[in-house]
Each structure stands twice: as structure tokens, then as C-alpha cells.
């Protein structure tokens, strides 16, 4: 479609590749989902912080590696400043892996692949594997005893797979280029894709109690707890419409705060895992509101004690 504008035919954005790409990108990741300023109330645990800590460490590793690259691979052996930057690079890597492993375990325990989030899980595992290769080439590029010992030992395993014929761990030039160009590029792309998928699919919801579990606990559907639960064996749509994602169903800002769905501050001593409120999650502690406080919003304006917390869309993947 063309729109005349002062005698110039302006092509509709939908007719261009750029316009189509922009439209698809905005559909998949609207700004409020890409950079969210709210999360479902269940996102309330220190376990959620380790993904961001991993990214923080990754930034430090990349930045310190870039500084090392400024002076070349031999700089840090003969300069105190270089040694310090190399130490930053080393410890950044150690923390990067520590945080990444905790993040991976946390996501495993949450079964974070549920609900069309399989690709998020897979990209996370791939990022972990490629990061190991990146760190390994870093150790091979140190030009010291560790490098030559690790290289001469590792060659046997890599040769046994046939890969050593092409990827020679004793070739310093090859390993250095993989370490500072190819693998960081791959890790950056995979981590970027992983983060975009996290934003696209949202944080996986908790396991929902089923009717049987609720009945055992003396609760009922739509009862005082404000629950609605899946029936064991209930039919779920195999090809659902796009999921209702955190931040997708924006409530009007003037919506009245809900009463029932707000997670109350746990009474001390009520449950065996009770902890002081000060140990509660995430870096948003200071904004964690009191029950019914203004810091918590509902997804739908009509929600109240009798409304459901969950909606059942199924997996569909």
C-alpha cells in the first residue's frame, strides 16, 4: 500500500522487510516485557538473583578480557597492572561459573522448562557448555605452566573424539583466537538469546496444587484461598493461544489493590522454613509491599478472593 505524502509515495511499513521484522519483534517482545517493571508475586526468592549475578560476572569477564587484549597476551606476565587485570579476569570467570551453576540448579528445581520454555532451558545449557569451552581455551592461552600442562593432558581426550585433528589445543594461535573472538561471540549470542527467551516466555509459574491436593488440604476450588487448580488428567489445549505472560495483561494503574491473591508476610514460626522477612528475596526487598499494599498489582481488574490465581493454557510446544 502506498500513501501519498507531498507528492511522494511512501510505502507502508508492512511492505518492507524492515517493517515486518519490527512488527514481529514488537509482537514477540513489546517493551514492557523486554524491560519489565513488575513480576508475578511468586517471584520472591534469592534463587532468582543468580541469573542477574551471572550476567554481572559475564560483563566483568568480557570487560577485563578486552583490557587484556589492548596490550596483548604477554602483557600480564611482566606488568603488575596486567597481572591485576588478569586476576580480575580469572576471578570474574570463577564467579561467573559459580553463579551460573547455582542458576542452573535453581531452574532445574523449578522445572523451568514447563510451559513453552524448553528453548529457554536448552539455550541455558548450551551457554553453560560453550562457556566451559571458552574458559578452557583461556587456560590454554595463558602461556604458562598451566597452559602447557592442561594442553598436553587435554589433547588425548580431544584427539580421541577426532576433533583434535582440527582443533589443536597445542596451537597457541588457534586457541587464542577462539578464546578472544569466536567463543566469546558465540557465548554472547547464546546468552542474549537466552535472556530474550526469558523475557518472552516470562518466569515459570510454581507448580499448581491440584484438586486432589487441595481436597487433601481441606481447601476447595475457588475457596477462601482464592485458588483454582487443574484437575488431574484434565484436558489441556495442545496448541494454545499465546500465553498470558507476566506484564502482558496490563491492569489499569488505578485498579484497586487486591485482597486475597497478595502473598502475606509469612507469620514467624508457622511453617518450618519460616525466615525473617529481612531475608526475603531479590534486590527489590525494599519494594516488597505489605499485604494489599500499593506495590502489588493484579493482572485483572476484577480479581478478588473468589477469582483464580492461575489460568490453564497448556504447553502447546
Amino acid at each position: 500500500m502506498s500513501v501519498p505524502l507531498d507528492g511522494i509515495a511512501v510505502t507502508s511499513e508492512k511492505a518492507t522487510w524492515t517493517g515486518k521484522l519490527r512488527e514481529k519483534a514488537l509482537d514477540a517482545l513489546p517493551p514492557e516485557r523486554l524491560l519489565p517493571d513488575r513480576q508475578p508475586a511468586y517471584v520472591a526468592s534469592w534463587a532468582y538473583v543468580f541469573g542477574a549475578l551471572t550476567i554481572g560476572a559475564f560483563i566483568i569477564v568480557m570487560a577485563s578480557g578486552a583490557v587484556l587484549a589492548l596490550e596483548g597476551p604477554a602483557w600480564w606476565h611482566s606488568s603488575n597492572a596486567g597481572l591485576f587485570v588478569n586476576s580480575i579476569h580469572l576471578w570474574g570467570t570463577e564467579f561467573f561459573f559459580m553463579f551460573m551453576v547455582v542458576h542452573l540448579w535453581a531452574k532445574f528445581f523449578m522445572a523451568a522448562w514447563r510451559g513453552k520454555r524448553k528453548a529457554t532451558w536448552i539455550t541455558g545449557v548450551v551457554a553453560f557448555a560453550v562457556s566451559i569451552a571458552t574458559a578452557f581455551t583461556g587456560y590454554l592461552s595463558q602461556q604458562n605452566f598451566d597452559s602447557e600442562w592442561i594442553g598436553t593432558q587435554a589433547k588425548d581426550g580431544i584427539n580421541s573424539t577426532g576433533a583434535g585433528a582440527f582443533w589443536n589445543v597445542l596451537n597457541f594461535g588457534q586457541m587464542l583466537m577462539w578464546h578472544i573472538v569466536l567463543l566469546p561471540l558465540v557465548v554472547s549470542l547464546i546468552i542474549g538469546l537466552h535472556v530474550l527467551l526469558v523475557r518472552r516466555r516470562g518466569v515459570v509459574p510454581p507448580f499448581a496444587p491440584t484438586q486432589a491436593q487441595l481436597a487433601k488440604a481441606g481447601l476447595s476450588l475457588g475457596g477462601a484461598a482464592g485458588l483454582e487448580a487443574p484437575t488431574p488428567g484434565a484436558e489441556a489445549p495442545a496448541d494454545p493461544s499465546p500465553q498470558v505472560l507476566p506484564g502482558q495483561a496490563e491492569p489499569p494503574q488505578q485498579a484497586p489493590p487486591p485482597q486475597a491473591p497478595v502473598p502475606p508476610e509469612p507469620p514467624l514460626g508457622q511453617v518450618e522454613v519460616a525466615e525473617p522477612t529481612s531475608s526475603q528475596p531479590t534486590l527489590e526487598d525494599s519494594s516488597l509491599p505489605a499485604p494489599g499494599g500499593s506495590g502489588i498489582e493484579t493482572a485483572t481488574q476484577a480479581q478478588g478472593p473468589e477469582d483464580s490465581l492461575w489460568q490453564l493454557p497448556g504447553d502447546g510446544s
Binding site: 600480564w76 514447563r114 524448553k118 585433528a165 494454545p240
Partner: protein
């Protein structure tokens, strides 16, 4: 709640499976600032990293060079050089990708991938580690004569000389800058090894071993393989707790964490049958490939994908959420048909 497809289209409905499907959240939301979180996390990690860098620094033990090796352990160097010359060293008998030695490639069942790939980094240890470097030394008529005699001899004659020198070098000593061996019928081999030791101790052999003919060299395959064929570097590694049976390369020099993330890979080398198998490397790699693949495809693997629900650690992670539903719900959650 409705279990039907709200769009009314798509494939046939299937059962809700708690390890694959989710009940999407329609409840409360809380304030959150993703940029602030990442920024604060960055600052926290930066403080930790800088503190560790200041307190612990980073290890940098100097590498073993051919010069340092032959200076510190000239007899070990001479004995190793002899194995390179007669083709009995670890590198000479390695097989693909370095040599065409038969029957030494690791196999996984009936398959040897390294044999299938073939020799792509060809190394002739006698030529590349001994004879060609010696030929670069100028103004040494005795050496030139020895080289010509050795290279012009028949294979049987070479083998005879090599064997004779192997016997005497086993009890060699080093004194006043000279390798001292008993006399024997080893022809020019004694002169070759003497000159190679001398060349190595000057540092000239380090450069001569580089695979690249360019001035700017970056491929250290030859000197590293030569050094690794001796016992000197391995002994140093043992003192630093870096040997394979000491959890090997996941460690690093000094008291540093090393590549702790390789613990599982290294673990397999410590347990039978891999720790005594001639195919140990390919077996360990096969295990790790399978485990990595399984980890990546966990969402598709029945039983394994149910582990999180059965283990119940999620109740701790989402404890505040479940508490909001009532403590009984928290306690009753895991066992469900």
C-alpha cells in the same frame, strides 16, 4: 477455570502434564526493576572480584621450555631425545592425528573416530624433533658428518645404532656441561644426541622446533609434545597436584579453584573402568557428551523431567507463595498422581 483452548482452534486437546505444562499466573504482581537488579548485581560481583584479585591475585608459574628442561634434567632430555630419534616416544607411537602408527587409536566399541579422521598434524619425531633442528646449526663439521652418516645409513643400521645408544643412555650422567655415556657401537648417534643436548641448553632448540617457518610463530605443537614426552614436566605437575590421578587439569598451580566446573569430567578418569582403560579418553568423552545432551534435552525425558516435582526443592524456592495459599497446601503439594 477452563481447560479448553480459548481460541477454539489448534490440535486436539491432551492431558495436562505437570512436568511439561503450566497453569499460567493470573494473580498478583509486584514491583520490579530489571535494570536496577542487573546493575546492582554487577556492582556486587565487581566488589567480590576486585577483592579476590587484590587478595589472591592469579597464578603464573613459568612454563617449562626445552631450554629449562634440558638445563635442569639433561639426562631425561637426552633419553627422551633418543626415543624421538628411534621412534619409540609417546608422540612417535601416538597414531592419529600425529603419526600413522597402527592399532593404537582409541576405540568406542568397534569405532575409532581418530583413525577415521586420520593424520592431519603429521609429525616425524626423528626428523622434526632431532635431525632437522640439528641441521640448522652452522659451522659444526663433526655434527654435519654425523648427520650425513646417520641419514645415509640403512634402516637396519639405524636401528642397530639406536638400540645400542638406548642401552647406554639409560645409565648416562651429566657433568661439566657434558653428557657422559659408556662407549658402544652406536655410530654417529652419540654425536647427534650430544649436539642436541648442547643446542637445547642454549635455547636454540626451542625456536627450531616451532612448526611454523615464519618469524612470527604461534603453533607450539612440536615443542609441547617433545616436552610432554619426557618425565620432567610430569614430575613438576605431580608436585603441583596436577596429574591425571590427582584430578588433573581441573586444578591449576597454586591454591586456586582452577576449572572446578570440570569436576564431573575429571571424576570419570578416577573411577574404573576408565581409569585403567586404554580407551579411557574416548569413553569419558562419550559419557560426558551423553550427559550434556541429556541435560539439554531434560524437558523431553520422562522420569528425569519429573525429578524437580518429586524432589520438592521448589517448595523452598516458592515457600512464600505457597504460604500465601495456606501451610497445608505447602505440605501437601508433591505427591500427586
Amino acid at each position: 477455570m477452563s481447560a479448553t483452548n480459548p481460541t477454539g482452534k489448534g490440535r486436539a486437546h491432551r492431558r495436562f502434564r505437570p512436568d511439561r505444562d503450566v497453569v499460567e499466573w493470573q494473580g498478583a504482581y509486584r514491583r520490579y526493576d530489571v535494570v536496577k537488579e542487573v546493575f546492582i548485581c554487577f556492582l556486587v560481583v565487581l566488589v567480590l572480584v576486585v577483592a579476590c584479585a587484590i587478595v589472591f591475585s592469579s597464578p603464573d608459574d613459568p612454563p617449562v621450555t626445552v631450554k629449562s628442561w634440558s638445563s635442569a634434567a639433561p639426562v631425561d632430555f637426552a633419553q627422551t631425545a633418543m626415543t624421538e630419534l628411534d621412534g619409540t616416544s609417546a608422540t612417535a607411537s601416538y597414531g592419529p592425528p600425529y603419526t600413522d602408527a597402527k592399532g593404537v587409536s582409541q576405540k568406542l566399541g568397534p569405532v575409532s573416530i581418530e583413525s577415521a579422521v586420520g593424520v592431519r598434524i603429521p609429525i616425524n619425531t626423528a626428523q622434526d624433533f632431532v635431525l632437522k633442528p640439528l641441521a640448522t646449526l652452522p659451522d659444526r663439521p663433526v655434527l654435519a658428518s654425523a648427520l650425513a652418516e646417520y641419514q645415509g645409513a640403512s634402516a637396519a643400521q639405524k636401528a642397530s645404532w639406536d638400540s645400542a645408544y638406548e642401552k647406554v643412555v639409560a645409565s648416562a650422567t651429566f657433568s661439566n656441561g657434558q653428557l657422559i655415556v659408556k662407549s658402544g657401537p652406536y655410530g654417529p648417534v652419540g654425536a647427534l644426541i650430544d649436539n642436541l643436548v648442547s643446542m637445547a641448553r642454549t635455547g636454540a632448540l626451542d625456536g627450531a622446533l616451532l612448526a611454523s617457518p615464519q618469524l612470527y610463530a604461534t603453533n607450539y605443537t612440536n615443542p609441547l609434545l617433545f616436552i610432554a614426552d619426557g618425565t620432567y614436566m610430569a614430575d613438576l605437575a605431580g608436585l603441583r597436584h596436577l596429574q591425571g590421578d590427582q584430578w588433573g587439569m581441573m586444578n591449576e598451580t597454586g591454591n586456586y579453584p582452577g576449572q572446578a566446573w570440570l569436576w564431573l569430567y575429571t571424576l570419570w578418569y578416577q573411577v574404573p573402568p576408565m581409569n585403567a582403560s586404554s580407551n579411557g579418553d574416548v569413553e569419558v568423552w562419550a559419557i560426558m557428551m551423553l550427559l550434556t545432551l541429556a541435560l539439554a534435552l531434560l524437558p523431553f525425558i520422562p522420569v528425569l523431567r519429573s525429578l524437580p516435582r518429586w524432589l520438592g526443592v521448589y517448595r523452598l524456592i516458592w515457600r512464600y507463595h505457597y504460604r500465601s495459599l495456606g501451610p497445608d497446601v505447602l505440605l501437601q503439594l508433591p505427591p500427586d498422581p
